[in-house]
Amino acid sequence: MIWMQLKEGRARYPNVTGKSLSGIMNSYREILIGLRRLLSISLGVLFPAMVSTPASAQERIASLNLCMDQLLLQWVAPEKIVSVTWLSGEKHYRRAPLPEHLYLNRAQAEELLPLKPDLVLTGQYGAQRASQRLEQLGLRVIRIPDAYNLAQLQQQLSSLQQALGELPGLRQQRGKLQALLEQAPETSSDNPRALILSANNITYGDGMLEHELLTRAGFTNLAAQQGVQQLGRVSLEQVIDSQPQLLVFYGGEQDFAIAHLAERHPVLREYIEAGRVYRLPQELGFCPALAAVEVLQQLMEKRKEIVGQP
């Protein structure tokens, strides 16, 4: 059986200047990770005060990144936020109430300047030109690293805490994640088999956060077992043939798309009727910090259900 390996990776965070979740070539990712490290070292050496100063006193925070938008809206008082990206106004991505006074930016420097933010949060990849221009104009810009695995997620939350200071919600989330990660993953040859079937027959293999969550929860990810690195493609025939004990769908989009035909195929009805399915929330894809803890807990519970089954 041949499991198709996708050549392209996928940007976890949508570009605020575009609508779709466009892919990023893996080779670019490696270069960008290198650049990120270089940037971190440069910032650490050149601007130690800027990197280490907590920003709890910030009163006018703006964001150029969808994930940062959502985290700010969840954990920071609304009156302290001046702008988030336009994507946060879209129903696909909105997870927290959107205060009316917020300016919805499209990652243009000129949009943010009149708002006079004292802190601009941005992600690792998107809106780089705007953030560089804002820095040149003297605004304080902090890049929060993206998270593609649990270790990076911890690092992301830590960077966020460093930038925003002590926030109860953020501290609680870090604590929960830490506690879950301290539980040793249940590795056993009897681990129930799981397989992710996402839109357009995409599955998640080794090196992806989704794979790590499955294995941490005590499942064997069949895609990774078949050698899929990062993203791969899985046909319905392969799903049936590999007989996963848990079939994991991704996202809860109800709008029609040909991309969802596979998961609506009658051949999977048996899985759905038997409750042998789990649905990863869509926000795990664009902002794992919002959902990873909850997903890990739910997957652990799902495992108990499956293992307990005769």
Partner: protein, 330 residues
Amino acid sequence: MLANRNLILLLIVCTLPIALIAALSSGPVSINLVAAIADGWHSDSSDAVILWQLRLPRAVLAIVVGAALGLGGAAMQGMLRNPLAEPALLGVSSGAALAAILVLYYGAAVSGYLLPLLAIVGALLAVGSVWLLAGHGASASRLVLAGVAINAFLSALMALALNYAPSMFAMQEIVFWLLGSLANRGWDQVLLALPFIVIGAIFLFLSRNYLRALSLGEASAASLGFSGRRYPLLVLFGIAFAVGASVAVAGTIGFIGLVVPHLMRPLVGQDPGRLLWVSALAGALLLLLADVLVLNTVGAQELRIGAVTAFIGAPFFFWLIVRSRQGGNL
């Protein structure tokens, strides 16, 4: 000569079951076909589920859609008396696809018979527009001009509709609507399309003598008792039912309606009535073989079936042009 023609037709008939076996044997998973057949429809074994629930409906859909497109192409060429008439080329498929896009992406009905019905209405409007715009007995160039204009306009509307569709996947799915696909299809899609394709085939069967008479010219057809609008409308509805229902479940698959009637015409002695059924048979075979090719092509993504049929169809166009330059008629 007649014996040779019948031999070729017999060969097509015999090749269809062989192609079906090839389609049922093709796929990313290696299955024991004989054991899966023996296990039967209700078996829970992986091989049986793959065969009966995944491969067979896909192969049946390829046969049904291929037959509908071959039939639609033959009827269009007969009615417009033009060798360039083809549902995908002249905007009929685009009309159906636009209607299907509006139904599916804007939430009117994800399932149910509203989808093929509205696709049929879309196809009907498009084929009617081409017919009216080109006029009776239009020259090849005028017909192509009218068809291309309508096709371009409808394609632009498709892009517009997908651009504003609520699903974030919609825009990239224009590839499906322009090139078609049989991936992830099941019995539900077969049952959705089949009744309407059968109705379309019945309409075209009833109009077979009109198409024969029309090959002598409109005046001759009228003198033979085929005057009035009844028969042209019957053909239009037949084409719209066959092509519309196909596009609703498989997207636009081009060139089958163009190539197949041309290849089959000499085998039926230029008889437009017999051409309908032979084109349906050959269309089914061609699409099934194209799908076998798709299933056996290795790649990160499944090759679009419309691309495969275009690979067959485009050289055929070249041949048509070369032949016309050498003095033959199009």
